[in-house]
């Protein structure tokens, strides 16, 4: 069967664009005009939650405060994701450019790039690139500066409100929402926080126009996206692909011929078993992903996969809220107990109910999303959980 949907795209890493030209032409436009173009493009956040980027910018622009901020989330901690690293390595100026456009729209004078602790090796070159960027802004008469803030190596600090806490020098614990960052973010001021990739796409939309972006993808998932592909695949790496493909199409291209499951969206994402490859679209209408795609072939124990994820969550939970802190420990110990025969298989039903409670009561996205992999693995690979 010809793979007629899977299309490689080259927007992100396309070098055929000039920072100054894009900024100059965009800064001449009205804020409404910019927001409308972004709205038309249909761009949704690439950090996981998929919130329409234009609306985030719009809400923040409407706040009356004098101080506002744009923060680039480069904490990239989701297991199996390494696309932001690649973007920052290859085209950092596009990230900065996206931030500068956002700064104009919301009225920010300062921007911050929160860089994952493990990416410290990128710092010297990023600082160099920042110098070039700041001098370009200077030439254009734009009053905006970006600072790089190093993360501390905790996964939870990628969650936006925990990230602000961490930037403010406090323990990285998620805040209550509302208020949302658009109203109260960094230093309790209105803040746009976007993923690295989101900012690059925003920049490219003002390079090529919303049209070109919108032509790609589906109604719910416009454009393309950068995928980090890993696991049992002959060609792991970073690929920019048009959104809207099915898992089947994806596996045809990247599988090793024996793929039994694909974990879409990392530990906090969903596991798609072979029998559902055909009907599952990768995107907001099916399984959304921040970019991580992990392929598993039949040699893998899905029990081990799930246990690994649960160990990850058990350790990376900030620990403040009950459902997540204790729930993660119980889920992990629970599947171990069932596997060892210390608890009857029906205990898995109890655990599923618990995962459901975590999904609806945890304070932040981390605890809420543990259920994603838990349900999709336990339901689809029940025998592997028991025997």
């Amino acid at each position: 069967m010809p793979n007629n949907f899977l299309r490689r795209v080259d927007l992100i890493f396309d070098e055929d664009c000039n920072l100054k030209d894009v900024l100059k032409s965009t800064y001449q436009r009205s804020n409404d005009d910019i927001i409308n173009e972004l709205l038309e493009s249909g761009l949704k956040g690439r950090g996981g939650a998929g919130f329409p980027t234009a609306l985030k910018w719009k809400f923040t622009s409407e706040q009356p405060d004098a101080d506002k901020y744009i923060v680039c989330n480069a904490d990239e901690g989701e297991p199996g994701t390494f696309k932001d690293r690649e973007i920052l390595f290859k085209v950092p100026f596009k990230v900065f450019g996206g931030m500068a456009i956002c700064a104009k729209v919301i009225g920010a004078k300062e921007g911050f790039l929160y860089l994952r602790g493990e990416y410290r090796f990128l710092l010297p070159e990023l600082e160099n690139q920042l110098k070039v960027f700041h001098s370009a802004l200077n030439d254009l008469g734009i009053n905006f500066t970006i600072k790089i803030v190093m993360g501390s190596g905790a996964y939870i600090c990628g969650e936006e409100s925990a990230l602000f806490e961490s930037m403010e020098g406090d323990r990285g614990e998620p805040r209550n929402k509302p208020p949302y960052p658009t109203v109260s973010g960094f230093r309790k001021k209105p803040t746009v926080i976007n993923n690295v990739e989101t900012l690059v796409y925003s920049f490219m939309i003002f390079r090529y126009g919303a049209r070109k972006f919108k032509e790609l993808g589906t109604a719910d998932s416009r454009g393309s996206k950068v995928f980090s592909i890993s696991g049992d695949t002959p060609k792991p790496g970073i690929y920019e692909l048009e959104l809207g493909m099915t898992v089947e199409q994806f596996v045809e291209e990247f599988g090793d011929g024996d793929t039994k499951a694909v974990q879409v969206g990392g530990a906090s994402g969903f596991c798609v078993p072979r029998k559902k490859f055909k009907d599952t679209i990768i995107g907001f209408e099916g399984v959304p992903t921040g970019g991580s795609m992990m392929l598993f072939n039949s040699s893998r124990s899905m029990y081990n996969v799930l246990k690994n994820y649960l160990e990850f969550f058990e350790e990376e939970s900030c620990g403040q809220c009950t459902p997540c802190r204790v729930g993660c420990q119980q889920l992990k110990l629970g599947i171990e107990a069932v596997k060892k025969g210390e608890r009857h298989a029906v205990y898995l039903d109890q655990l599923q109910k618990l995962a459901q409670t975590m999904k609806i009561t945890a304070k932040c996205g981390l605890g809420q999303s543990v259920a994603n992999s838990f349900f999709s693995i336990v339901e689809n690979f029940k025998e592997e959980m028991i025997y």
Partner: protein, 596 residues
């Protein structure tokens, strides 16, 4: 005026101010939503999640303590989804909890226990995590015991110590399954900046933070025929004790408390209020003396402003945080320690009891007083001046243990001597009280007239505002005090160490030109002390304060220097305020402590 928001809770429409949380909106409808991490005195944490409710149109169940109302919101507090979720959350908490209620100090007064009872948690659903944890008990402090195996990580203590006290002795350490409440470098509470104020103890919903209790030691002393057991009761105890014994909040139970103490078997039931009056004499004259040395003698070794010294939480705070101002602290011991020193000297002589046989017990609203009694500075009688300090809560426990029907007790009076007090001593229990009492006496000493306030009520220093300033102009001075003619005495009152910090930072920055500063470590003063009945909230503190001022107003003697027993002790024993003897027994000096 705040914007009004209309919403529906459990089918009932309600209109509340914008910014109200669902929890509070429900309260207006008398709908009870369970909480654990929420506390009236603290910022919202939203971490326990037991207060979740269902919100129409929402995917998740919001925490009602943290979710503000919105127009047209529809909330359900009692659906199967809510019930299941809450039950799960309680079960999860219990699975990491060393739930040995029968041997737990908080048995019967524990929010987790009540919640488990309310939700009828029976068989444990989940795996017991306790054996997997390396839980520690920190029992080194004379004031506070911290047992991590009873902790539900609600962070009330952390918020208390940071927001109310600005001490941050407690913080969150580690993450995930290892997350715990800890001190700097996980040192024992005894060795860190903790002031022993007990505010965290007062807010801990479980048995994870409790006072070190000395109930059995006190019973032992009472039952020992060789011992003469003297008890003193602090001013703030009588306005709160009733709360733990079925009496409505805000009712003063002095007479019943004295009867109960006698029934418990104490040999002598005396009053810290007496030494509160004595403190006013000593501290008032010390202030006047300092003013004279600074203004007239130009003695640069004498420091102003002078701060009060009766709150041991404040003393430890200044030792750690503002040690360069220790010379500004009044050299007076706290009323508790003055009493202790006199019990084994003056009292012993007058009653003809061997001081070695005296066991001196004090009932305090305070956990820091336990630490204070253990300080090396507090042995000027030649013995440990105060042997055991019990909190208001511990006294309530003893009264219950003795099978006393508190409500049915007759009222009785303190023993004499060291049992008489003035209204000025009574108000020591409220923030601003020491200041007011001191002014009543000092002004009269200097001018020969009563303070120029209606009914002796110096209202500017009263109230619950965190920092309150007041000044009083001194005119028509007499005798030795002519140098104060026309001077304006400037004072400031702060309660809660966060407010103390504000005042001290102003002093440090040279911004406050005060002469006299009153600081109480606890919010509301001693009436809101860490050893007071649980719960304590702004509303409860206000009721206790009202009771205190009612008691003062009803007293025939309102000024410390008019207390006849005070007059006698100076005639018989101390000679005059700040005398050599006073200094030997009633004054001390504190030393710097490291912050870490």
């Amino acid at each position: 005026m705040a914007k009004k928001i209309n919403l529906i809770i459990d089918g009932i429409p309600v209109t509340v101010d914008e910014g109200t949380t669902i929890l509070h909106a429900a309260k207006q409808l008398n709908i009870h939503i369970p909480t654990l991490c929420y506390h009236d005195d603290l910022c919202v944490a939203g971490n326990c999640r037991v207060c979740v409710v269902e919100m129409k149109g929402a995917r998740t169940l919001p925490a009602s303590c943290a979710m503000p109302v919105a127009e047209g919101m529809e909330i359900m507090t009692n659906t199967i989804k809510v019930r299941t979720a809450r039950k799960h959350i309680i079960e999860l908490l219990l699975s990491e909890h060393n739930a040995q209620c029968t041997t737990c100090y908080k048995n019967g007064n524990c929010e987790l226990q009540s919640l488990a009872a309310e939700y009828k948690i029976s068989e444990p659903t989940f795996i017991d995590l306790v054996p997997l944890k390396n839980y520690q008990i920190d029992a080194f402090s004379p004031s506070i015991i911290k047992d991590d195996s009873k902790c539900i990580r609600c962070q009330r203590c952390v918020r208390t110590c940071e927001e109310l006290q600005h001490v941050s002795a407690l913080g969150v350490a580690y993450k995930g399954d290892k997350m715990k409440i800890s001190t700097f470098f996980e040192n024992p509470m005894f060795e860190v900046v903790c002031t022993n104020c007990g505010q965290c103890v007062n807010r801990c919903p479980t048995g994870a933070l409790v006072e070190r209790n000395y109930i059995d030691e006190v019973w032992d002393a009472i039952y020992n025929p060789d011992k003469h057991v003297v008890v003193q009761t602090a001013p703030a105890v009588r306005v709160a004790l009733g709360e733990d014994l079925g009496v409505p909040t805000g009712e003063i139970v002095t007479g019943k408390m004295v009867s109960a103490l006698r029934r418990l078997g104490f040999d002598s039931v005396l009053d810290t209020d007496f030494t509160a009056d004595l403190t006013i004499m000593e501290e008032g004259f010390e202030l006047l003396g300092r003013l004279k040395k600074v203004l007239v003698d130009k003695d640069s070794s004498v420091k102003l402003p002078m701060t009060t010294s009766c709150s041991p939480g404040w003393i430890k705070f200044i030792e750690h945080t503002y040690p360069e101002y220790l010379d500004n602290v009044s050299s007076c011991k706290s009323p508790q320690q003055m009493f202790g020193a006199l019990a084994k000297t003056y009292y012993a002589q007058k009653r003809n009891v061997d001081p070695a046989k005296i066991v001196s017990v004090s009932i305090m609203p305070c956990t820091a007083k336990k630490f204070e009694a253990d300080r090396p500075e507090m042995r000027s009688s030649g013995f440990k001046d105060v042997d055991y300090v019990l909190t208001t809560r511990e006294l309530a426990v003893m009264i219950k243990q003795a099978g006393i029907d508190f409500g049915a007790l007759p009222e009785s009076r303190y023993d004499s001597f060291m049992g008489e007090s003035s209204g000025a001593a009574v108000i020591f229990g409220a923030t601003g009280g020491v200041m007011e009492a001191a002014l009543r006496t000092a002004y009269e000493v200097v001018t020969g007239r009563e303070v120029p306030f209606d009914g002796l009520n110096i209202t500017p220093v009263r109230g619950m505002e965190g920092v309150r300033e007041a000044s009083i102009k001194i005119e028509q001075t007499q005798g030795d005090w002519k140098f104060l003619e026309g001077a304006v005495l400037k004072t400031v009152v702060a309660h809660g160490l966060t407010n103390a910090k504000k005042v001290m930072d102003a002093v440090r920055a040279g911004k406050g030109d005060w002469h006299f500063i009153e600081i109480m470590a606890c919010p509301g003063g001693c009436l809101g002390g860490g050893g007071q009945p649980i719960p304590t909230s702004a509303e409860i503190r206000q009721k206790r304060a009202d009771a205190i001022y009612r008691e003062d107003a009803g007293k025939t003697i309102r000024k410390s220097h008019e207390n006849p027993e005070i007059v006698s002790i100076y005639q018989e024993f101390l000679h005059e305020p700040n005398s050599h003897k006073s200094h030997e027994l009633l004054h001390t000096h504190y030393k710097e402590r490291q912050r870490y």
